[in-house]
Homo-oligomer: 272 residues x 2
């Protein structure tokens, strides 16, 4: 067993993202446990973090791996000198970037990042409010204010996708459930007509849909594989007959679904 | 004007995260526009991306910067050979990681990543459902199922924080609004009693709160600076008198608030 550390002067989300991307390349070959150390924003905290890293190495009998994003050079050096393989984003990329841009880095990440994100924050909050108010077919009269309207059968991933679009990109996303009656009629539900350019469909394999619904209403007709098969087949045919682009969410993370939708619809991002 | 590219065989979220962290170090010194090219999952798409990068360089008269995460070595080489400064995560970090772990990388990022995330996906969906059902003081009888209960005055950031905790970490977070009446009584609202170990407070500078409320209800008493000052002062005193830890969200992104809460309460993450 080996310990992976994520160390940062802020949230450590970047360090975790980097670590997970890289470790996915070695999946199944290594057993490890993960430790996140955020807010290492002083030399004292960096020294404590370095000591924790060394202690883990001694306890494991394996050299720890450290994914870090430390803007402050002295703190970074303290971590790099620990007895671990340290992969630090700034250590590797800051120098070539500095040469290309012809400017020195500011060093104080936290502050500059916070300030630059204020308008971004407001876009996100506005978009979250919008997605909550327009979840599951609510307030359809506002649909001309939506940048995207996600449609799909119950439990195909509409709500998480809309929330992610709002939180990550500040995009105002509504969602509308396609019910059995809609499917049988073969017609677009009335509130969606006139908004076809804004619609994006979700579909999902019937087996996976049944297992998700089973958790919600065990043993119900709603969760039966037969019912899920019919709904999935018919909703896909509805998408095709009305030229609605759609994506199969079965093996996708929320991030992947949202990114596909942004790309497929050419949506503009309002937040970074 | 210079163009920054984010190139990936998947969503490009990691590449964007890396780019934004690094570019924050040069904020105000460089003007640039951003182009994201996700799903570069074939040599053909890599060649098209490289051509777009070169064309941007010619049009700008400035060498583009490329932040990329390409697991497949031949595609990666095509991008690296474009006329740009290419900072590729895998190019730099994969080799030292391979030596440390003693295994070769799998190369097919997308697939391995998707499969490993299924249980993570389910935690997130469950947590999102929970946070939507327990938003803004709803279903208080379920509070023993919450891992954390965010409290605060209206518009202090409770809902976005709960949604982010659910989406990013799979944590079941409820939220409860502290109203004027609660504040005046000086007592903890009845539904919160018996859950003190799960409570986490939010506060915010009165000026910022007033400006957020002003967008919602312009010219109202609710949005006035006087009202906001009173509510903020009294809610902080409520936190202190009941030993509720709290964080000031004024200059924080949603990510930062959520990470602080996770750290401060020692919450376990259920999703990666």
């Amino acid at each position: 067993m080996r310990t992976m550390f994520y160390v940062s002067d802020r949230t450590a989300i970047t360090a975790e993202t980097i670590g997970h991307s890289l470790l996915a390349q070695f999946e199944g070959t290594t057993e490890y446990r993960e430790v996140t150390i955020p807010y290492v924003d002083s030399l004292e905290k960096a020294a404590v973090a370095a000591e924790r890293i060394n202690a883990a190495g001694r306890a494991d009998g394996e050299r720890p791996l450290v994914f870090s994003t430390l803007a402050e050079p002295e703190s970074r050096d303290l971590i790099i000198r620990s007895d671990a393989l340290v992969l630090d984003l700034f250590h590797v990329f800051l120098e070539p970037l500095q040469r290309a841009l012809g400017h020195s880095p500011l060093i104080k990440t936290t502050h500059s990042h916070r300030i630059s994100n204020l308008s971004s924050y407001e876009s996100r909050i506005g978009a979250i409010d919008f997605s909550l108010q327009h979840d599951d077919g609510a307030r359809v009269r506002d649909y001309d204010k939506a940048e995207i309207i996600m449609v799909g059968v119950s439990r195909s991933g509409k709500t998480p996708t809309c929330l992610y679009l709002a939180l990550q990109f500040g995009i105002r996303a509504a969602n509308y459930p396609i019910t059995e009656e809609d499917i049988h009629s073969g017609k677009l539900p009335e509130p969606l007509r006139g908004h076809r350019a804004r619609l994006h469909g979700l579909t999902i394999d019937a087996k996976r849909l049944a297992s998700i619904r089973e958790e919600r209403r065990p043993g119900s007709r709603y969760a039966s594989i037969e019912q899920c098969r019919i709904e999935v087949r018919q909703v896909e045919s509805l998408y095709r007959s009305h030229d609605i682009p759609y994506v199969n969410t079965t093996n996708m993370s929320v991030e992947e679904i949202a990114t596909r939708v942004v790309q497929s619809r050419g949506l503009e991002r309002h937040a970074v």
